[in-house]
């Protein structure tokens, strides 16, 4: 018995000794030296995985860009290839595991979320050729104070903001007499929300609810946020360092309830689909076939509208050539700045003062994954892709609004308008905070509540007091969703 117990205990002690000794040893770490990653020396014979959006692939832009880059850097053995991943591939999940792209093209809100946990590399942007050509407002979207230092995480490529799309051929024949009060040659209904509202009501009434003026899914937070922002609302305040303070939620600030009132009013001139996502998905086709007069969306989907409009027009004009249809469509599908809002926040107020609308927008750009094995080659790619010729080409093929001032100057038109909005603070750049998920969830639900109330002519949000209370409750809900569990 003594032997068995002794050897049993000896074994147990041996196991415990092995576990504790090697357990403790295994957890010890050698001090690692921080290495500067951008040394200026190109890594040779490397392949860069480039993640760009689907439109860049579909239009052939990405292929052109990659081929040109590969040709220029062939002497170093550097090759850039399409990462061949979904446009919304999550670097946060793939990067630490050693997968994912080397270069990412994304909107600022996504990129800055990556930056928070160091998934993308801070860039020496001041040394880049594009630096002086891109306005500070665009760079600001990628700047973040972390500790004592301020970093910039991406190179802005294009500016995104909602624009109004409308069918010029659906304007009333007499619009110059009846719908151009200021005689500036621009139809009032695309200049002012109040006139657009009146025009929409007229179309709906005269068509017995089969045709509509302005149509948009009113529960779409990104596009609806502008109504609140224009009247003094904001998403997050900023702390003394200029960083977003997620404890300061201000969607109810100022007179933002007026924005809520506008959403409720707009619902009345739309149909039952406006409270869900139906219009967002059907707008291409229904604007194309003339069921809708106007809608609001971003400039990068212009070609999709053209395609649907052309397809619909070809069906009813079979004797037209493809070129004739294309020319007609491009002439009559107009993309312009969103109309001005009534200062009173009442869409029935067509005579009162108006103000430019502030919209929610974003800056899309290129960033470098912190997990890349070739940071210097990746930086060379960013330098290359942000050159004037390539931004101009992107603009030409994708219809984007460029972030480079020199390209905007050459482009003119809507690009200049959007750029002007950016410089004058009429674009509220979407915060790159993880907490935006909770903002969108609560805001989306309230928008739906308000839209349904407007559709049913209900009493839940029919007074300013009720709307003010709803906006305050919204802020509280968002705060709770962000901070109670974190």
């Amino acid at each position: 018995m003594t032997k068995t117990i002794a050897l049993f205990l000896a074994h147990a002690l041996a196991v415990i000794a092995v576990l504790t000794t090697f357990g403790v040893l295994g957890l010890q770490r050698e001090d690692q030296e921080a290495q500067e990653r951008f040394t200026g020396v190109l890594e040779e014979n490397v392949t860069l995985q480039i993640l760009d959006n689907d439109t860049a692939k579909e239009t052939g832009y990405l292929d052109e860009l990659l081929n040109a880059f590969n040709e220029e850097y062939a002497q170093y053995g550097i090759k850039a290839v399409d990462a061949n991943m979904g446009a919304y591939t999550d670097l946060e999940k793939l990067g630490p595991a050693g997968y994912g792209p080397d270069v990412v093209y994304q909107a600022n809100d996504v990129l800055m979320r990556y930056a928070l946990n160091k998934h993308i590399q801070p860039l020496p942007v001041e040394e880049m050729e594009a630096y002086s050509q891109i306005p500070i407002e665009a760079w600001d979207a990628y700047r973040m104070q972390m500790g004592e230092a301020e970093y910039t995480f991406a190179v802005p490529v294009n500016v995104q903001e909602p624009l109004l799309y409308y069918r010029k051929d659906l304007l009333p024949e007499n619009w110059q007499e009846e719908w151009d009060d200021d005689k500036n040659g621009i139809p009032d209904m695309v200049e002012n929300w109040a006139d657009l509202y009146a025009f929409s009501a007229e179309i709906k009434a005269s068509s017995n609810g089969t045709k509509f003026g302005y149509m948009k899914s009113l529960n779409d937070q990104y596009f609806a946020a502008g109504y609140f922002l224009s009247y003094g609302g904001y998403i997050f305040g900023k702390d003394e360092t200029g960083a977003f303070d997620t404890e300061d939620i201000g969607l109810s600030a100022g007179e933002s309830y007026k924005g809520a009132r506008i959403i409720r009013q707009l619902a009345a001139v739309m149909d039952n689909n406006c409270a869900d996502d139906t219009i967002t998905t059907s707008a291409y086709e229904l604007l194309g076939n003339g069921t809708y007069f106007a809608t609001m969306t971003t400039p990068d989907v212009y070609e999709s509208f053209v395609e649907n409009f052309a397809s619909s027009w070809s069906r009813t004009h079979r004797d037209w050539t493809e070129e004739e249809v294309d020319a007609y469509v491009r002439e009559n599908l107009v993309m312009t700045k969103v109309p001005a809002l009534p200062l009173s926040g009442d869409l029935t107020d067509r005579e009162g003062e108006t103000m430019d609308m502030t919209v929610m927008g974003g800056i899309n750009g290129y960033a470098i994954s912190s997990y890349t094995k070739a940071p210097n080659a990746a930086l060379a790619f960013l330098e290359f892709a942000s050159r004037k010729e390539w931004i101009a080409r992107r603009c030409e093929l994708l219809g984007i609004v460029p972030a480079r001032a020199d390209v905007v100057e050459e482009e003119g038109g809507v690009a200049e308008d959007v750029f002007d909005d950016l410089l004058n603070g009429r674009i509220y750049i979407m915060p790159g905070e993880r907490a935006m998920t909770q903002v969108w969830a609560s805001l989306g639900s309230l928008l739906r509540f308000i839209a349904e109330d407007g559709l049913a002519n209900g009493t839940a949000y029919d007074t300013d007091d009720k709307l003010i209370a709803a906006m305050k409750k919204l802020d509280e809900d968002i705060y709770s969703a962000i901070h109670t569990l974190s």
Binding site: A6, H11, Q32
Partner: protein, 463 residues
């Protein structure tokens, strides 16, 4: 007989406990016996696995045990011990990919830590088998028999111990592919993983904090209990509707007066054959704000009903129940049809002669017979419905929140809330806590219902 049944039911829970305690006592007695009566060879195997076997000239078996021990020690020296300790710390060095500084990956450490625990358990089990084996050999020798040869041991694995051979791979598979993820999920519930705390940042243990947040923090507690209440109601109603709906349909189509049974049975089968999500999307389209149902309502002069609107709690819940019934009743019908075909016709004849009406026949003959045979199915349907993610995800996912709920709407079930918490909002640890609560609820309900069900209490009836 009834008394006996009750006695069995009353004794069910203590019987389980008694069995467990008995098993523990038996193991302890076995261990004591080995320690007390084991000879030097057994003692040697207690220190170095397989040496005792070798002393009995079981060279191959002994060498195998020795190799296993060496393998496990190598594993623990090279990685296992560090993994085991890592399970407690979840990392101490935060990575900084900006400067190429590699740090600890807490999530990976959690997984490898669990794996090391599984390996440790496996080692201890093999160690016990080694000691037990050599002691059995000692007893054989003491009884004047010779030790088993390696070939005889192998033969046993295909004979008396065949169950071990067959179960080895499944048990290994279950350990790695089922137990490891489940334990991982359970442990996540006790960490702060999620929101901003994702690799490369370090995750830490937080004890029961997540559970505390769910049941004690104002709005979350309210949301949790509201969803929980609705979840229970949903599970009971949907299981009831589906089960009795299927049974009713089966009884109806079983009637001799029904003409063209094959034709009528075709429709439920069709509903069953169409993928569930297609059906759900169909219903969503039909009842959408601008869908066909509202079209006819407004054409008829009425006001549109927002069936899935932000305020439409009960219309949406009702449609959810109906969609689920549409999808599930056919399978219940098929099941009931099969069971009814085995019903004893003589009992019905006798009941008729005794003057039982149709309802009495159903209540006293059909229902007990069908329920007896299908209790496990009802349970699985109940659990399935309790965790029915698809219905409201498809029907109403565009309503992110309802008034009085946090990050959930008023038709969400716990499983939908779990999804929103962990996938949409990155609150992984809270999601894990919810899933643990769901697991506890469903296991307790299943266990209790099953123990008190006729299928368990009258197990012997149809043997």
């Amino acid at each position: 007989m009834e008394k006996n049944v009750n006695k069995v039911a009353e004794g069910s829970a203590p019987r389980w406990l008694g069995q467990f305690a008995g098993a523990v006592r038996k193991k302890w007695a076995g261990f004591s016996e080995i320690v007390t009566h084991g000879n030097f060879r057994v003692a040697c195997s207690m220190f170095l696995m397989g040496t005792g076997q070798m002393m009995y000239k079981q060279w191959a078996k002994g060498a195998l045990y020795l190799l296993i021990q060496a393998g496990f020690f190598a594993y623990f020296i090279l990685a296992g011990a560090a993994d085991l300790f890592g399970l407690f710390t979840l990392g101490t060095v935060e990575a900084n990919p900006w400067y190429g500084i590699e740090g600890d990956d807490s999530v990976l450490m959690l997984i490898t830590g669990i794996l090391s625990v599984i390996m440790l358990i496996l080692y201890l089990a093999l160690y016990a088998a080694n000691v037990k084996g050599v002691y059995e050999t000692q007893k054989r020798v003491e009884a004047g028999k010779r030790p088993f040869t390696f070939l005889e041991d192998v033969k046993q694995l295909f004979d008396q111990k065949f169950y071990k051979t067959v179960l080895f791979l499944p048990v290994l598979g279950v350990s790695v592919f089922s137990i490891l993820p489940i334990v991982f999920m359970i442990l996540i519930a006790f960490t702060n993983y999620g929101d901003d705390i994702v690799p490369p940042r370090l995750v830490d243990w937080v004890g029961f904090e997540n559970f505390g947040k769910l049941v004690a923090v104002g709005e979350y507690a309210t949301t949790f209990f509201k969803i929980f209440g609705w979840n229970i109601l949903w599970a009971v109603l949907s299981t009831g509707i589906n089960y009795f709906g299927g049974l009713a349909l089966a009884l109806l189509l079983n009637k001799s007066c029904v003409k063209g049974k094959v034709f009528w049975r075709f429709f439920p089968i069709l509903a069953y054959a169409i993928p569930g999500f297609i059906t759900m999307l169909g219903f969503k389209f039909m009842f959408a704000n601008g869908g066909p149902v509202n079209y006819y309502i407004t054409q008829g002069g009425g006001d549109a009903i927002f069936f899935f609107g932000a305020n439409s709690t009960w219309p949406a819940r009702f449609i959810g129940l109906m969609v689920n019934a549409w999808i599930s009743i056919p399978s219940s019908m098929l099941l009931a049809t099969g069971i009814l075909s085995n019903a004893n016709k003589d009992q019905y004849e006798a009941a008729k002669i005794d003057g039982a009406n149709a309802f009495q026949q159903f209540w006293y003959l059909t229902l007990p017979f069908v329920v007896f045979a299908t209790t496990p199915v009802i349970l699985s349907q109940f659990i399935g419905n309790f965790n029915n993610f698809g219905v409201f995800y498809f029907l109403r996912s565009d309503v992110a929140e309802s008034a009085g709920y946090v990050l959930a709407n008023d038709t969400d079930l716990l499983i939908n809330w779990l999804y929103k918490m962990s996938i949409d909002n990155n609150y992984y640890s809270i999601g894990a806590a919810i899933s643990l609560i769901i697991f506890l609820i469903t296991s307790v309900i299943s266990l209790v219902v099953y123990i008190f069900s006729p299928s368990y209490r009258q197990e012997e009836t149809y043997r």
